[in-house]
Symmetry: C2
Subunit: 539 residues, 2 copies
């Protein structure tokens, strides 16, 4: 105690002020050891962009993924790779064939529109596809947790944090095992849209993803929304979560389930921006980074720029169905080609399948396109897109109105969010005729309101104190710096549902009220009868 409190205090304060200065100066250049457990496919695209930025900030990244990964490749200058060898042959998740097969089936089912029967078939398809995916994740988890050497290696590295996409439960379980702080790059969890797990989500104005609803619902739509919520709970409870719960019990502890594990994240970097998503309740440890992958356009390759310039005053249309889908069935692509043939614009179409024979001179097919640079090109008039979030945010960022051809999952819902703001038109890919697409294109390009509305979204989206990417990196570093962010996690996850909703309290209050009411009635009855008897007596 000889040192004196003041001196001790001074030192602490200096350390603290230094900490604040370090955190305010950008970038924070200290090498955190980060274990990334990514998800393959389109999820990897934005995770990789985040990894690149973390690398730029001097952090050491280790990525853990399947040795047969489809998109994720070794990249020693960006991250160390730990690959996990799965038993058995290739699966449908190792390349595009699985999703292509799924899409073909879907489009065939929906050929006559979304009839009730088609709805049931589609739901069934989706559930079994999802279940297979989570079963694959279950096998992956087993492989990791049965590999003592790997576990030891991970434990000894003593990671500062785990960064994962919790659409599969792998990374969360690993973070729990390693007792490491946990950050999500997230829009989906194992049970559906991520907010629904832990932010209050009144079903009266928050539509489920997949419902095709908006935040303004009539009575029947609300009934649909509630029913779909129960359906989702049912599916996750009986088809998805048991896969993880068994693994949790086996490898993490008998009283641990996947919900508890998922909720242990310190910070949720949510790929959402309220320019796009309907406003809804949120939580203090959700950080919104929607559009973090967007950036200013680079000049186009010379040949492409020349093609774009030939469009003259009409400009160009850009079309892409994203990274997962290789191609649509030929009859549909022919209808698209027919529509494109009739617009005065030039068209650049990212296309991998069979070339439609009726392709016109104004249309350029390419196996890959510099999508961001094209969307940021001043000649671009419209974006024909499937409605994946990566593309949607790029369209918002660059202010390009959209003609949507949604295929599955959240794509219709994503597009609906642009549609209600007057920035997109939606065409049903399964049932459309070429005229539908042509009309939508003409409407979106020639009716100035679409562009004006999209530009308004763009200017709101760009008007932020710091870029979403800067925010993402800050919060990852924050969690590493403070070994977590426990003070931002609410108490609710400790409570059983009847406590959370105060059902027990209301039951007590109701009982007290009823007993009191009964007592009063009894007393009044007794009083009346006594008075009655007295009256009889006096009579």
């Amino acid at each position: 105690m000889e040192m004196g409190y003041c001196e001790l205090r001074n030192r602490l304060q200096i350390a603290c002020v230094l900490g604040a200065i370090i955190s305010l100066s950008s970038p924070v250049t200290y090498g955190a050891k980060i274990l990334v457990v990514p998800i393959d496919g389109s999820h990897w695209i934005n995770m990789k962009i985040l990894i690149e930025e973390l690398k730029n900030h001097g952090h050491n990244i280790t990525a853990l993924y399947s040795s047969k990964a489809w998109y994720i490749k070794e990249s020693p200058d960006l991250y160390q790779s730990i690959t996990v060898q799965l038993q058995g042959g290739t699966t449908k998740f190792d390349d595009s064939r699985g999703i292509q097969h799924f899409l073909d089936k879907l489009l065939t089912t929906l050929r006559h529109g979304l009839t009730p029967w088609a709805f049931i078939l589609v739901q069934n398809e989706m559930i079994s596809f999802l279940r297979e995916w989570h079963l694959w994740a279950g096998a992956f988890i087993t492989r990791i947790f049965e590999d003592e050497k790997l576990l030891k290696q991970l434990e000894e590295t003593n990671f500062d944090l785990v960064l994962t996409d919790p659409a599969l439960g792998i990374g969360s379980m690993l973070a729990h095992y390693l007792k490491a702080p946990l950050v999500y790059n997230v829009r989906w969890i194992t049970r559906g849209e991520a907010h629904f797990l832990f932010a209050p989500s009144p079903l009266s104005y928050i539509p489920l993803l997949g419902s095709h609803l908006t935040d303004k619902m009539n009575f029947l739509q609300r009934v649909q929304n509630v029913l779909q919520h129960f359906l989702e709970l049912f599916i996750s409870e009986f088809f998805i979560h048991p896969i993880y719960n068994e693994a949790c019990r086996r490898y993490l502890g008998t009283d641990i389930d996947i919900k508890t594990v998922l909720l242990q994240a310190d910070v949720w970097l949510m790929r959402v921006d309220f320019v796009f998503e309907f406003p809804r309740p949120t939580m203090p440890n959700i950080v919104y980074i929607g559009g973090f992958q967007c950036k200013s356009p680079k000049p186009l390759p010379v040949g492409l720029e020349r093609f774009v310039q030939t469009s003259g005053k009409y400009g160009i249309i850009v079309m892409s169905l994203g990274s997962l889908v290789n191609s649509l069935p030929l009859d549909i692509t022919m209808k698209i080609a027919e529509a494109f043939a009739q617009v005065p614009q030039k068209v650049i179409w990212r296309h991998n399948g069979k070339i439609p024979p009726n392709i016109a001179n104004n249309t350029l097919l390419a196996k890959w396109i510099p999508q961001n640079d094209l969307l940021g090109h001043p000649k671009t008039q419209a974006f024909v897109a499937h409605g994946g979030t990566n593309g949607i945010y790029e369209a918002i960022y660059h202010g390009v109105p959209v003609v949507g051809l949604p295929l599955f999952y959240d794509q219709f819902d994503n597009l609906i969010r642009l549609k209600v703001r007057g920035a997109a038109k939606i065409v049903d890919a399964a049932t459309m005729q070429s005229l539908d697409l042509l009309q939508a294109l003409n409407e979106v390009i020639n009716n100035a309101s679409y562009r004006v509305n999209m530009q308004k979204l763009s200017s709101l989206h760009r008007d932020q104190l710091e870029s979403p990417m800067r925010r993402a990196v800050f919060w990852i570093e924050y969690v590493a710096r403070h070994r977590g962010a426990a003070h931002l996690r609410s108490e609710f996850y400790r409570l059983p549902w009847y406590t959370y909703y105060c059902v027990d309290v209301l039951a007590l209050l109701l009982s007290v009220f009823l007993i009191a009411a009964m007592l009063i009635v009894l007393i009044l009855k007794r009083f009346c009868s006594v008075v009655g008897k007295k009256k009889q007596k006096t009579q």
Copy 2:
């Protein structure tokens, strides 16, 4: 249409990019016309700090307040003043006498601790004090809306936004009338803590302010929390809101009530930080600016610095009961003086009332102290405070542990938030003996954990991407720039409560379920009886 879409687009895009650049560069130097409708007293202290910063950013401020305001004075270099002359003599809200009288009554009532009877008396005191305050506001509103010249002047100024503290409903009603975008500097609304109006607030883990509870409640505490919630609703519904609702109907429209008016704010700058407040659900248009008034300490005046230095290795204790309360009753201040006399530290005590005769040599009394500079002084060991949020945030910012002497409203609750984090001790001012305070002081100063915990809160609080003040100014400018922030306001406020909670949907689903169950039972009964008859026949 000769201009061509591309060119139009180019111009729009340039405008949009310029907008983004302007918003990223700091400060934004364009003069928005801002109408500030402040609240007098301690609320004014932080509103004034915000006004100073807005002035620094080049905005033109007009402040509207009572000509008899207690704290708010004319300040032409900071803001234009519009003063409203209230009819009648001075009221208890024009100086410190009202609150002093209220405090004296409270302390007398609580002299024997918080007995059930004392609780009822205190509640009664609080409600009538609150009601008088809102009646005063009602008179203020009448005065404004009956003054056609004033209204015309306000309308013609065409303000870019209204900035107000909605603890009284004046500013919100005015913004509604002027159809101006609306920003709140807020912790309280007319009905209690502001979150409870429009962010989902599960009573199972979110304690009401005034409940003295934390986010970890047992069953009985939850019962208390629920009952208090109903009490608050009852009070606001029958004693507070009718005052405003009548004014709304008279001046804004027959279908407008105060709740609708309050909810029209575009952005809520909430004087809360989750280092201090328990984590809880929030909304997209809440921006947390807790501690925005904190700043680095300036050097002390020479005489004061000399006194501080005489404290040697023991350091100093700072005491202040905030700006509203002039003094405690003499018997209480004597106990405080007695405790201070027994500590080895020097004490600096902001004190305005009768000087306690037993004041010791180590204690310096002052009518005003540079509180922020003293709390930021390296010699400061502890802060004896009443628990108002301004002081609490300064203590957090500077990492000084607190001994709390809470007096009324949220002060006990504020201190409890520090206490559960091991950064404060609370002493009951009404019932304490000098030994209680002495022990609390010794504990907080000599047990290092209090300082360490407070330093931890401080380092978390200071570790932000931008200062809370920067955030406040950005969002005010954002709302002015975009003429509101409608895209951040959720749909819930349009819904009646039974729709919001899906009571109608659940009633339908339950009915369908019951009817189906009844049908099945009926069919089974019929079936059984038919089978039974057949059996009888065959027998």
